[in-house]
Each structure stands twice: as structure tokens, then as C-alpha cells.
């Protein structure tokens, strides 16, 4: 699906029997949004609630059209955390989707609901303002996001094109072990 195939795909030129690697083409190994959703479903996640972001557009589109899962559009990120907590109480496995700006809106709810009651959930957070390259409104939160997560004790994985499967696996293991929210940070261009 992705990382394992790195050395087998690319745009090749054939000269008789020999193959010369011409140019490495990232677009051929990018995990697509539907593959990423399948990956999450593979871990049993079946309930999603969130607030949209352009980086999450394809993923949310996939979830909304998938009849095997529930996707709820919340009005604010803290509302999504409440809904996801209720879904967990009712026996589902939840993911909350949001832009990193939404951590600012919801950090109090995270601290006094899933962190306090030990409710496991994945937080799929799009990372706007990564390395200071973005519209001005994203820069402060883009710079602060990791410190914010650390400050309330939310473990995180920064997703990379090459290792999405391993990073998700590690986050889910951490979530199951500690029974708290664990974040996946998604930068632009990591999921196609």
C-alpha cells in the first residue's frame, strides 16, 4: 500500500533487459485517503466526528460516503470530543478529526473529559502552519501545537509519507495501552 512498495515502484525506463530508475515519483507511493480510511477501519475505528479542514477534505469525503462507519459533522471541536466520548461509552471506537487550531478550542474539554475519565480515542489533526509556511492565521498555532499536546499529556505521532502504517500502528498501540486520546498529526501532502 505504501512504504513497503517504495523500492518497487517509480517511473522506470527499460533498456532491453536492464531497468534504469529514472526518477523517484512520490505520487506513486502516497497513501490515498481511501486507503488511510481502510487502515483506520482495520483497527476497528467505526465512529468519526469532526470539524473539517482542507487537508482532511478527502478523508472526510471518504468517511461520509462509507456506509460501514458513522461520520458526524460537529459545530466545534469540543462538541466532536463530547460526541466521540458518548460513542465510546456506547461501545464504539472513535476518531475525532480537526485542524490544529481546533486543539485551542477543545483543550479544556480534552483535559476534563477523555483524559480525566480515561477514554481512548484517536485525534486526527491536520497541521496547518507547519514550519511557518502557511497563511498568517495558522502560524502561531502551527508553531505551538506540539507543545500544547505535550502540556496536557497527549501523545502524538507526526505522519510521514514513508511510514504512515507504522505511525498509525504505534499511535493505536499507545492509545489502547494508556486508554487516553492519542493524536496523529497530518501535514499537507502526506495523504493524497
Amino acid at each position: 500500500m505504501c512504504a513497503k512498495n517504495v523500492f518497487r515502484i517509480g517511473r522506470d525506463i527499460n533498456f532491453g533487459d536492464s531497468v534504469i530508475f529514472k526518477k523517484f515519483d512520490w505520487s506513486l507511493i502516497w497513501m490515498k485517503a481511501d486507503e488511510f480510511c481502510l487502515l483506520l477501519k482495520g483497527y476497528g475505528f467505526n465512529f468519526f466526528a469532526g470539524v473539517p479542514c482542507t487537508i482532511l477534505r478527502e478523508i472526510i469525503g471518504n468517511l461520509m460516503s462509507d456506509r460501514d462507519v458513522i461520520y458526524i459533522t460537529a459545530t466545534r471541536e469540543e462538541e466532536a470530543i463530547g460526541i466521540a466520548t458518548g460513542a465510546y461509552l456506547g461501545g464504539n471506537k472513535s476518531v475525532v478529526l480537526m485542524q490544529n487550531s481546533g486543539i485551542g478550542n477543545s483543550i479544556g474539554a480534552l483535559a476534563s473529559l477523555p483524559l480525566l475519565y480515561k477514554v481512548p480515542m484517536l485525534l486526527l489533526i491536520s497541521w496547518r502552519g507547519y514550519r511557518g509556511k502557511d497563511a498568517p492565521e495558522h502560524l502561531i498555532m502551527g508553531e505551538a501545537i506540539l507543545r500544547l499536546l505535550r502540556s496536557v499529556g497527549i501523545p502524538f505521532q507526526i505522519l510521514s509519507r514513508e511510514r504512515v502504517e507504522e505511525e498509525v500502528s504505534s499511535a493505536v498501540r499507545d492509545m489502547e495501552k494508556r486508554q487516553i486520546p492519542v493524536a496523529l498529526l497530518l501535514r499537507r501532502g502526506v495523504i493524497k
Binding site: 458526524i72 460537529a74 469540543e78 463530547g82 475519565y117 477514554v119
Partner: protein
Amino acid sequence: MKRYEAIKAIADLLKEDELVISANGMISREMCAIRDRSHNFYMLGSMGLASSIGLGLAISVPNKKVIVIDGDGNVLMNLGSLTTIGKLCQKNLIHVVLDNESHDSTGGQPTASNMAKLEEIAKASGFRTTKRVCSIEMLKEAMRELVASDGPSFLLAKVKRGGEPIPRVSHEPEVVKDRFKKALFDD
């Protein structure tokens, strides 16, 4: 009517497997003191999210009634939730708001619900049934009716400010969660 009496009236009518999400502050404290049961989820913090937790739960266990016991200050902190509930139109969700027009748990600072008609906001958001009651008898009658019919329902009960001093919820948060999940699993 007093808030305590209103909570007692609701608690007395609860059937064994009906699920309750009670808002943080005095509402959870009083619910715990009046009728502590495994099917109650007492919120301690995350003010405003009772209706959201109730919604996620109601979607997940569609064959059970979920009763959210909320306050006016709480609803006003998460008004958007009413529109989400109205849009999803979950039949098994009953949202009760004990409205004393104040943040009574923190010293009685006034809220806007003396002007804003929360039940009308709920109606306009798409709740199937909305009611406003101002006496214990009306509250009991409305609860019986709403439990027997399809939701989402919104019940606004006007209550007086104030209450007797009451201890904090005695259970650890994790215990509240674990026994709630176990009770659901055992049903």
C-alpha cells in the same frame, strides 16, 4: 420548583435500563445523591458537552433511551449542539434542561435564558418535540410522554435558583465510566 425536586422527579421515573448523562456541577452532585446508579454518567468538567455525549451515546445504542439532564448555562456554552442533534434527529434522545437563568453552581451569575427561549431554539433546530414546564406535576407528565414517544425531545423546566449544600460526586471519574460501560454491556 426547586432543581433538587425536578431531578428527584426525573430520577423517580427512570426505568432500570434508561441511560442518564448529567451535567457537571450541582446537577451531577444532586443526581448522585438522589439516585446513584450504574446507568448514570456524571460529568465533572467539560461544561456544555452533556448533550454531545448524549448524542454520541444515543447514536451508538439506538434501542435505549438516553436522557440528558442539563442546565441553562451548559446549553448556552454549546448551543451548536442543538443544531447537530436537530439535524441527526436521533429518536432515543431526550434533552432536559433545568433552567434557573443562572450559573448557580458558581455563585448565581445570570445567564441569557431569562430572554432566550431555549426550547424555541431547539424547535427551530429540528427537535421533534419541545416542551416548557414550570411545575413538578407538569414535569412528570411531560417526562412520561417524552419517554414513550420518538425524539429528539427537548424539555425545558424552569427551576428556582439555589439548593442545599451537597457533597461532590463520590466516585472516581474512571469508576463512573467503567461501571456505566459494564452496566450497558450487561443489559
